[in-house]
Structure formats: structure tokens, C-alpha cells
Assembly symmetry: C2
Homo-oligomer: 764 residues x 2
């Protein structure tokens, strides 16, 4: 949707130049005369076009101005003082609301997913809205050991035919399982297509782009919120290999955007709005894992672009509120904050670092494989016929997933159930097959000595099934992520590796000692795989640390995460989110170092063989000239120079302001005709009455455009664009205007330097 | 030590301009001819004068350049490739070393403090190097209940006179206690004065300033490290009301600086060095509290200025290594990472939020009081005779502290012992007076029902003593912090509030339920007081959370920390560290928003009535002119313009480079005399042989000086200075050079806008 080369120069502009150029006294005296009509509020002042980049400096300046006005006014009356207090508190109110709503939504989603996942297998007779676990908990006939079996819960085949164990019943269950899965995913993909196309995917690449200052209208809207919530439940319940973590971040950001609209402080300032969205992202991760600190660090490390300390503090507040809201809903029934609460009591040994690091290597390799495979598949989807049948694609993938998943008990159940089983230590009362050790009757306290017992056949069986599940998940996830359906990556990635090797260690460690915690291996493997895919580091370790609740296991997690990141980085620097950002061509300026030795002069427009830069002069252009220029070019702004000969820059004027100002002047100001000279100087000369009335436009001129010299190294220019959030920058040499560099030019140049074809990857 | 107005324009400069202005081809062809001698490495290239500000952009640019060179060279041979790998890994090696050394030092300090604190009371007969606890642990005659009493440990009076309980013995113990305290503190202050004056104080204000880009040579040197470690032990052991947390951060930063010197990557680049120091600060907090995540957040929130993601990750690594090194030394004898390990099992109730918030209000008030009182006292110390007798001051304060502290058991012992007693829940085996509840013989399981029992006289006694201890600590800490002795604030602040009010709740809550955890109140009170004093938020809560190891109590902690910050902020925005930075006049540009409506033209030099800016012209200045200018002014750099008439800026040249270049040219280049014309242009014209040889100086010219227009709002200028870490910025209007703004000008202007006298507070 971006038009052309200078499209980064955003069309709209509130009269930033007017604000910044007027000294306080001028402002107070109301210097305006001819131009007073520009002071009237214009309908879409301060908004940006869709798919344009915001100017952070301008947004910040506008907010400071707003704040200044409120502070000045607050001294006038008590009511204004109260209003200023309310304004100061509105940030906290928004955080509170975001926390409450995203916590609630996460709770509802968890409950619904639980119920619908079980619905694929059977139904609760006492109350159909109960999930399997709830059904059996409420039943009186259930003992703790058999807590999964109760008469109220009936599988479909049992309900329909009365048989439970026959081959026919198995086939019927199988068939219905697949059918439900297809139904759910069809519903999800249809809802997304019809009501909210932005509700598909993980959302994190887009949110990263939005937070870096891009506008994608509707991406965080109410409809997206509603549809994403509903379809997320459907998609996860359908058994597709996707998690709800990324989408929960998207949902939380939608909540943030929703509550922004309640306060003009946030709704009218794109910069401030992004501060709220950063905090909302933290709340999203917080509810996804029950890890508030990890959520804040995730937002800081992975998603956010501009993250001042104030936002850090507010994010933490929002994340905590969200986590506690979720806990009070208590969807997991364990009164815990976290999804996979584990409590290990056995220490780990230094020698175990070797398998942990191997897990890290595996995670890194898997991350690379996944990113390459997934990006290749997504590119094929974009460029071939495949992309035209998204519904069919979802149906096919769901069908394959369901058909392959049902026979294996580890893939049949929902991924989060599987992970919590894998993470858990074997206890005496554990019914999982993974804990099927042979009972040694000679032992006095069997529950303490489980790891000493030889593994029973169930364990070997389980290992085979897990290995199959692993391979299956790896392959299917590559095809699933990026489909037109809400999909997250965290959980599938966490899935990936389980304690294949602990069986080796069993023989190795001395008898009588609790020496290996299988759950720990699962957790370390999960961290390694997630690290390989997303390249998160601190936030990943902190999330895992919050899950386990102890500093004890931080070293294994860290070792695996570091190794995984290094291994994956050796094959390619980009994480999955960056890769998707690049695939979609979003204008995202990442934090990597730019190390090439090019200068501003190599990047600026116009190039050597191009026509000269379109400029305006301060006192010799007529209204007609300006109108012609506007008609013939589609640049979003024009530099203003003293004269064409001297080329000395005096300011920058936005296209939209020019159009508005001329239109208004022609309507309201007598004597302004095509022949009138446009003056950007402070005073227009007194002209004889026979000449047409001059048009003074200094107030729409930005008198402080950002400039660099042509000899400035590009690494500095990139740094300036990144840190100051610029949209464009003018290039001068000894005070003469030479050219212009836009954010898009910078991105194009960076792509070129990385030997990528700049045009093919941008904004398509 | 700062000289004059333009001292921000740092004297030295490596040939930044040369690096940045040469295009790649020029560089490869070796364009130098006359100026080749400048390519020779100069002895102190790239270093800054003491008490000057670094240029972040330049440091970054230099590092990129170094990196580029290594990357290019790594393709040449295997040896170069290995070297490039080593270079890439050096950051991690430095982190590892910092973690190991700072963890070890923290462990040694803990052990030494333990021993010397006990030495004030008595001595272990079996081995004099044992502390009280170690002495009794190694004794076989000790039972668990009487673990504080054993024959091997003798108080001084007992050892000398044989009496234990008489009044004479008490007086003798009292006297020796005070004497030891005086001895320790005298030793500490003398060592600091003689060997390392920078070893005094907390160090955090200075480290904040250093990290923001200021140079204080020797502040992080080897001597400071050694003396600070020794005197910290002495100061804490002397019983002064000071903690070891701030100084531990300083010690860790000294370690960081030490290891930087091992790698030229860090030792030769002030920007990179600061990344290491940020990580070291995290390691310092990590060992101070055993809270690695809290340490990283502390570094991020409170100390660091430039904190890229790479540093986040490395800080985390350093903090973890440090914490685990400390744990393996195990100074607390409990195999825990943390200083005050607590484990509460009782939940808290919503109604308890009221006292928690009250604690927050108290903490905020105390913080304000403390900052005001301490700053007033420190200012008096600076301005009156008081400051001339630092040794006497320390002796007097130590004497008063020791005399007042001895009679009260809660002030007699070391502060960290006291805190761990306060934080702890009462158990059945607890010998503390605070747990002196009347034993009810009817109860079957007394240990579970302690909170139900009525309080015994010991509890009331303890409360009185605690109240006295509180008042005493509040007053004495105001006078202690800022003395010429290593002193930290954390622990004294944490001290401040104890469960005065829980006795009320005891009656209020229904019998039979564990309803109030006194230790929790102590902890929340500590968080509130620390929050009020330092204005930390997230890092404070996370540190406390890591101490308790459970998410359960995060809401009380957060409520108290937020309230405390709000209350304290209402009285003044500055935390104690910012207040001390301002008191000492360090050039620290803080992160607060600048909200005034001034423009660059209001701030730039020269002012209206001042002489014009000293500039050089590109082709009409003689060597003699330049030498006169250098002699007559002390500016650290000069803009170069096309001609005095056009005033069009072409670059900026450093004073030091000019001096060096002219000196070299006069020595090595024939025909360069006072009459020679200095050329900054690309080519010097061919002059007749009769004219003196021209001097070409383009290579020392920075062709990309940073410019803003005179109409740029100061809020934007401040933002640019802060985000890009500039030292100076040139001001232009329509391409003409108007003036210059230095970092010092910005700071002076900001002080002026806050109605402070700019000269009185700066750099004194």
C-alpha cells in the first residue's frame, strides 16, 4: 500500500513547525494574522495514513506541548487541577484495565480450550460444559488414583454405541476426533477471513513493526480482538500444532489499543500509544506463562522499540495485574500462577552440563531448520497458487495433523497438557506411562526411590511414542506457523525435545541416589528449542525460572539457552519474528549493528543520474508553481531553500500542509490567485497594489529539519534514524542542500549491503 | 578540575575525522601524502582528559571500524581468524572473570565482616579466626537450642577478669566494644585518606556519572579496588550505620575495569568499557543480595545510561556467575544464594493491603526526610569547617554510634543479622525475644500454633527496643552517609520499619488462624523505605521477590514500593543518588523530560553581547593565525567555515589535533612557516614558488559535525544529546554557522530552567 519513494515523508502533519518555531512570547501575543485560520482544529490533524511511519521526535514534542498546556492550565482553577491529576493518572488506569481484561480473556480462553479439546474425545453427561477433568472432579465416585476415569465422562463411541473397548469404537472415536478438529479449524479460518483478516498468525512480527513506529490500521482493533479471541480457542482446540502465547500477546495489545481510545493522551499520540502497547505485550506474555517478570523482559528484549523506564514500571504493573486476574479465575484449578508448575527437589550435577549443552546444540539446529523451512514454505505460499486457497490449506493441515495425532497418546492430547506431564517429576501417584517403573516390593518407602527402580515396559513404549511425537511435531509445525489462522509458536517449540538420553544416565549414576530429573531435561530442551527459534535470551531464562520458581536450575537453563543461540546465530542472525518481518517487507529497522563503510552521500536521493531534488524557494515561487509541483510529484514533503542558486536550506514543508494552506487561502483570503508569490520568509515585502496579494506560509514551515552532512558515515545515520525515530533527514554540504534520505532509503541500502535484492523484499 | 566554558569539547581526538571522511577507496589507496605522518600511532590517541565527557558516537564509530578491520583480516589467514574468534569471545571472558572475582570478594568480605563484628564482643578460644557462630558450631558441647552459647566463645570481660554477669564486666565489654569500633573506623578512614581517596562513599552516584560518559581517572583503579575492599570490611565491622551494597557495586565495577585492561577492545574504547561496567554493576548487586535478576534490572533501571540488549544478556551472565561463586564460598553457612533467605507459608489477606500502603507512605516520607537531611548535612560539610576534619568526623560518629548502640540488643549486632532476624518467621526453635510467646501447655502441637499464643513480656520489650533502634538508625544514617569512608545505603534503609502494628492485628484476626506474618511486614517496610530513598521500582520489587522466592508476596511489595515512590516524588523528584550527583556537580544528563519552551538559539554560545564565535576559514588562515587563536582561547575545538563572509560550515577541528599537526608539520615538512596558509579544502591551489609552502589539514577535519538549526526546540536538542551521547552540537540558520551548544551549556540551561543558580551547582 505504500506509494513511492518518498512515501516515508508522511503526508499529514499537525502544525509542528508552527509550534516549534514560535517563541513563547510570539505564541502568547497571538502573532497570527492572515494565517489565523490554520489555528482552527483540522479534522484529521495529528493522524497518519495507513502503512506509514510515525515521527517519534514529533510525537514526543507534541506530548510535551500537551503536558505543558495542562500544567499551565492546572494553576487556573481547581477543576483544571483535578483534570491535570486525572491526566497524570490515566496511564496507571489504562495499565490496570489492560491487566484486568487480558487476564480475564486469558482465563476464558484457557477454560474454553480445555473444554473444546476434551469435546473432541467425549462429553460430560452431568453437565456438557464441563471439561474431562472438571467432570471427574465433581463426580463423587472418583478416587485420586483413577481421577481420569469416571462414569459421567463418556467418549463419543461409548455414548453412541455403548461399546468402549472394541475396534469399532476406536475407529468411531478416531473419526469423530478428526471431524471435530476439521470443524473447529474450518470455523476459525472462516471467521478470520470474513470478519478480521488481521486476526491470523502469531501477531508478534506485526506488533514489533507497529511498536517500531509503523501504522497498520485495524491491526489492533476491536474486531480483531474479538475474532482473534474466538478463533484462537478454535484453532488451539482443533489440535493444530500451535500455541496460544503469541496470539495472547496480540490479544493483550488489542486490549491496550482499546483502552487507549478512552484517553486522548494516548489515542491522539502515536508515540504515547506505543508505550501502552509495550506494556500490553508484557501483560500478554505474563498471562501466557504466568510469568510477570519474564513478560516485562520479553517486551523489553523482543518486542519493544522505545522502552523508557516509565514504561518498564508500568509494564510490570500491568503484567502483575494480568497474572493475578488470571490466578483468581484459576483456569488450571491449582491456584498457581503458572501454567506448568513444577517443583523439583533434586539438585543437578556438573556432569549433567554436557547433555544440557548438547540439548542447546540440538535446540539451535532445530531453530535454524525451523526458520529456514518455515520461511521457505511461507515464501512458496506467497508466490504460488497455494496462497489462494487458505481455507483449503488449513483444512488439509488440520486433517493431516488430526489423523496422525490420534494414534499416539502424546500427540492426541493438547500440547500444554503434554508439556506439563513432561515437566513433572514422577511421583508415587503419577499415572503417566512415563512413570511406569517396576515396583520393587522390598523397598520400604517406594515413593522416595522411584528413580532407582528399573524402567518398566511402559517407559520404553513411552519413549518410542515421544520420539515419534517429536518428529511429527517438528515437521507439522513448519507448515502450520504462518497459516491464516491464529497461531503461536512458543508451545510447539517448547514441545520439541524430551528426555531421550536420560535412560543412558540411569545406568551411569550410582544406585541409591536421585540423580537425574527427567522433567528438568524436558524443560531445558524446551528452553533450548525456544531459544533457537526466537533468539530470546534473558527473557527466556527468566520465564523458565519463574515456571520452576527456584534459582537452582537457572544454570542448566542458561547453558542451554546460550548454546542454542550461538549455534543458531552461526547459521543466520535472524530469529523467526525478524524473518517474518522481512518476509512481509515491513519497514522495521532492527537493532543490529550496521558495519559497512558507506557515507550519506551514497544513499541520498537524488542519485547522480536522477533529476534534481524538488525544492521550493522561500520568496520566488508562485502559487501556481507549488500546485504544479504537488500535481507532478508524489513526494510527501519539500525542502525550502533561500534560492535555487544558493541552495541554502531554511526548512521543510509537508505536502499535506501545503495543499490545505493553499486551499484555505484561495477560499478565505482575498487576492490570492495563481500568480501570488508564496513567502516562507518572516516578512513579505510591501508590493505595489497592482501585484497579486502574497501568500505567507511561514507557519507551516518546519524550521528545524534534521540534517547531516554528505560525509556522515552511514553507521551514524542509521544510529540516528534508530535512536531518534526519524522519518527523513536532509543532506547538506557546507550549508547547501544536496539531497534527502528517508527511512525507506536506509532500509533499502541496508538490504543492498546484505546482498539482498532491495526491491523484491520491500513492502510487498 | 574542569577548566572553562568549552571544556566539554574534549581536547584529545583520535583522527575521527580522518576515519569517517575517507571513502573506502580513498582509504585503500592510501591517499595520504604530506600528511602521512599523522597515520603513525600517537601515544595517547583515543584517550580523554580526566573529568571530561566522552563522545558516544565517536566511540561507537571507532569500535565498528576496529570490528570491520578484524573481520576483513580474519579472511587472510587461520591465525587471524582465530584472533577474530578470540576477540568475539573476549566479552564473555571478561564477564566470567568479573563474576568470579566479584563473587569471591563478596564472600571474603562477608566472612571478614562476620569475624570482625564478633571480635568487638569477644574471641573464640579454640581458634581466634572463628566468628561467634563458627566457634560454637565447631564445638561439640553445643546443643541446638543453646547454639549461641559455648565455652569456647568468651566475651572480653570474661576472658580478662573471669566474671561474666557483673556490672563491671558489662562496663568493660561496653568500653572494649566502643574501642574496637573506633579502632576499625580510624583504620578505615586513614587507609582511604592515604591510599585511595576515591574509595570513600557509596560510589553509586559516581558510577552513574561514569556510565553516562564522564571520565574520572582512578575511580575504578586497582588501588581503589584493594582499599575499598579492606576499608569496607572495617567500616561495616565498626558498627556504623552503613551497608555494603553500594560499595559492592563499586568493587564489582573496579573488577570490571581491571579486566577491561586485559583486552584492547575494551581498554581502548571508552564506550565499550562502559558496557562492561554496566554488567559489573549488575554482578555487584547480584552478590550483595544474591539476586541475579534483580541485579540486572538494577543496572538497567538505576545505574546504566547506554544499555543495549547485548549488555543485558552479558550482565545476566556475569550476575549469575557472581552469585554462584558466592554460593560456593557459602559465607552464610546455609547453602543459599541469598542473604536473607525466608520462606513464609501463610498467605496474606486483602485487608492487609491497608497497612502495607501505610508502610509505603511511611517509606516515602522517610525517604524524603532522609534525602533532605542528608543533602543539607553534606552541603554543610562541603561549605563549612566541618569538611576539613574528615577523620575526626568519622571518629566522632563512630563513637556516638557505638555508645548508643551497645545497650540496645537490636542495634548492637550487625545490621544484616538484625534484618534476617526481623524477616524470619517465628519457629518453635527460635530463640529470639521477638518470638517470646507464652507457651500454652494445652496445645498438642505447639510449633504450629505460635501465632495464637498471647505475646509474652519479651515481645513487648522487643518492640520498645525496636522502636528506639528505628529512631536511632534514622537519625544516625543521615549523618553517616557521605562520610569519607565506604558506605552503602541499602541495608540501613531496609532496616527502617518493623512490625509496630502487627500487635494490633493480633487482636483483630480470628483466633486459630495464622493471620499475620510479622516478617512480611518487616520486608514490606524495608522495600518501602528503600523505594523512598532510591526511587527504584521494578528492580527493588524483583530483588525482594528473589529474596522471598515466591510470587505470593509480590503484590504487597509492589503496593508498598509504588506508594512510597509516589509519596516521595510528591516532595521532590530526585532520588538520593541523583541528589548526590547534583551536590557534587557531576555533568549527568538525567532521563527526566525537559518541558520548557526554549529554542537552541537561546542556549547557544556566543550570546548576544559576547564576542563572535572563534572560527577558522578553509583557505585563508595562516599558521600564525591558528597559533594565535590556540594561544588566546581555551576552546577545545573550532568550527571551520568557507569564509568569514559566507559563514558556511564545512567541518569541525579539535584543538589538540591542530596543535599536533602544526607541530609535526613544522618539524618534518620543509617550507611550512608562520606565513603558510592552512588549507582545509580537498586540494590546495598551486602557488608560485616564492610563496610559503601551504599546510593541508583536511585529514584532521571532522566533516560530519552534528548540526541543528537555531529554531530547534531545546527539548529536541536535549533528547539528541541524551540519545546520541554528543559532546557538542553546532547551530546553523539557513546554512550559516551561528554558534555552538556544548553538553555543559545544556546542563547549565536545564539548571537555569529549574530556577537553580547554574554556576553554584556545577562542577565544584
Amino acid at each position: 500500500p505504500l506509494t513511492d519513494s518518498f512515501s516515508e515523508l508522511i503526508w499529514e502533519s499537525i502544525l509542528f513547525s508552527g509550534i516549534s518555531s514560535a517563541t513563547p512570547t510570539e505564541e502568547m501575543n497571538g502573532a497570527g494574522n492572515l494565517m489565523d485560520f490554520l489555528d482552527e482544529p483540522l479534522p484529521d490533524v495529528g493522524t497518519y495514513e495507513d502503512f506509514h511511519t510515525i515521527d517519534w521526535l514529533r510525537e514526543k514534542s507534541r506530548d510535551t506541548d500537551r503536558h505543558r498546556k495542562i500544567t499551565n492550565r492546572s494553576k487556573e482553577s481547581i477543576w483544571e487541577f483535578v483534570k491535570s491529576l486525572l491526566d497524570a493518572w490515566s496511564g496507571w488506569v489504562v495499565m490496570l484495565l489492560i491487566g484486568l481484561l487480558s487476564g480475564t480473556l486469558a482465563g476464558v480462553i484457557d477454560l474454553a480450550v480445555d473444554w473444546m479439546t476434551d469435546l473432541k474425545e467425549g462429553v460430560c453427561l452431568s453437565a456438557f460444559w464441563y471439561s474431562h477433568e472438571q467432570c471427574c472432579w465433581t463426580s463423587n465416585e472418583t478416587t485420586f488414583a483413577d481421577r481420569d476415569k469416571c462414569p459421567q465422562w463418556q467418549k463419543w463411541a461409548e455414548l453412541m454405541t455403548g461399546h468402549t473397548e472394541s475396534a469399532g469404537a476406536y475407529v468411531l472415536n478416531y473419526f469423530l476426533y478428526v471431524l471435530w478438529a476439521l470443524f473447529f479449524s474450518f470455523l476459525a479460518v472462516s471467521l478470520v477471513r470474513v470478519f478480521a483478516p488481521y486476526a491470523c498468525g502469531s501477531g508478534i512480527p506485526e506488533i514489533k513493526t507497529i511498536l517500531s513506529g509503523f501504522i497498520i490500521r485495524g491491526y489492533l482493533g476491536k474486531w480483531t480482538l474479538l475474532i482473534k479471541t474466538v478463533t484462537l480457542v478454535l484453532a488451539v482446540s482443533s489440535g493444530l500444532s500451535l500455541g496460544k502465547e503469541g496470539p495472547l500477546v496480540h490479544v493483550a495489545c488489542c486490549c491496550g489499543n482499546l483502552f487507549c481510545s478512552l484517553f486522548s493522551k494516548y489515542s491522539k499520540n502515536e508515540g504515547k500509544r506505543r508505550e501502552v502497547l509495550s506494556a500490553a505485550a508484557a501483560a500478554g506474555v505474563s498471562v501466557a506463562f504466568g510469568a510477570p517478570i519474564g513478560g516485562v523482559l520479553f517486551s523489553l528484549e523482543e518486542v519493544s522499540y522505545y522502552f523508557p523506564l516509565k514504561t518498564l514500571w508500568r509494564s510490570f504493573f500491568a503484567a502483575l495485574v494480568a497474572a493475578f486476574t488470571l490466578r483468581s479465575i484459576n483456569p488450571f484449578g491449582n491456584n498457581r500462577l503458572v501454567l506448568f508448575y513444577v517443583e523439583y527437589h533434586t539438585p543437578w550435577y556438573m556432569a549433567e552440563l554436557v547433555p544440557f549443552i548438547l540439548l542447546g546444540v540440538f535446540g539451535g539446529l532445530w531453530g535454524t531448520l525451523f526458520i529456514r523451512g518455515n520461511i521457505a514454505w511461507c515464501r512458496r505460499r506467497k508466490t504460488t497458487q497455494l496462497g489462494k486457497y487458505p481455507v483449503l490449506e488449513v483444512i488439509v493441515v488440520t486433517g493431516i495433523t488430526a489423523i496422525l495425532a490420534f494414534p499416539n497418546p502424546y500427540t492426541r492430547r493438547s500440547t500444554s497438557e503434554l508439556i506439563s506431564e513432561l515437566f513433572n517429576d514422577c511421583g508415587a501417584l503419577e499415572s503417566s506411562q512415563l512413570c511406569d517403573y517396576i515396583n520393587n516390593p522390598n523397598m520400604s518407602r517406594p515413593e522416595d526411590d522411584i528413580p532407582d527402580r528399573p524402567a518398566g515396559p511402559g517407559v520404553y513404549m513411552a519413549l518410542w511414542q515421544l520420539a515419534l511425537a517429536l518428529i511429527f511435531k517438528i515437521v507439522i509445525t513448519i507448515f502450520t506457523f504462518g497459516m491464516k489462522i491464529p497461531s503461536g509458536l512458543f508451545i510447539p517449540s517448547m514441545m520439541a525435545y524430551h528426555h531421550h538420553d536420560w535412560i543412558i544416565f540411569k545406568n551411569w549414576c550410582r544406585p541409591g541416589a536421585d540423580c537425574v530429573t527427567p522433567g528438568l531435561y524436558a524443560m531445558v530442551g524446551a528452553a533450548a528449542c525456544l531459544g533457537g527459534v526466537t533468539r530470546m535470551t534473558v527473557s527466556l531464562v527468566v520465564i523458565m525460572f519463574e515456571l520452576t520458581g527456584g534459582l537452582e536450575y537457572i544454570v542448566p537453563l542458561m547453558a542451554a539457552a546460550v548454546t542454542s543461540k550461538w549455534v543458531a546465530d552461526a547459521f543466520g542472525k535472524e530469529g523467526i519474528y525478524e524473518a517474518h518481518i522481512r518476509l512481509n517487507g515491513y519497514p522495521y529497522l532492527d537493532q543490529d549493528e550496521f558495519t559497512h563503510r558507506t557515507l550519506a552521500t551514497d544513499v541520498m536521493r537524488p542519485r547522480r543520474n536522477e533529476p534534481p531534488l524538488s525544492v521550493l524557494t522561500q520568496d520566488s515561487t508562485t502559487v501556481e508553481d507549488v500546485e504544479t509541483l504537488i500535481k507532478e510529484t508524489d513526494y510527501n514533503g519539500f525542502p525550502v531553500v533561500v534560492s535555487r542558486e544558493s541552495e541554502r536550506l531554511i526548512g521543510f514543508v509537508q505536502r499535506r500542509d501545503l495543499i490545505l494552506a493553499i486551499k484555505n487561502a484561495r477560499q478565505k483570503q482575498d487576492g490570492v490567485v495563481s500568480n501570488s508569490v508564496v513567502y516562507f520568509t518572516e516578512d513579505a515585502p510591501q508590493l505595489p497594489a497592482s501585484n497579486p496579494q502574497p501568500l505567507k506560509l511561514r507557519r507551516i514551515l518546519n524550521l528545524s529539519p534534521f540534517t547531516v552532512t554528505d560525509h556522515t558515515p552511514m553507521e551514524t545515520v542509521v544510529d540516528i534514524f534508530r535512536k531518534l525515530g526519524l522519518r527523513q533527514c536532509l543532506v547538506t554540504r557546507s550549508g547547501r542542500l544536496l539531497g534527502i534520505i528517508t527511512k525507506k532509503d536506509v532500509l533499502r541500502h541496508m538490504a543492498q549491503m546484505m546482498n539482498q535484492d532491495p526491491e523484491s523484499i520491500m513492502f510487498n
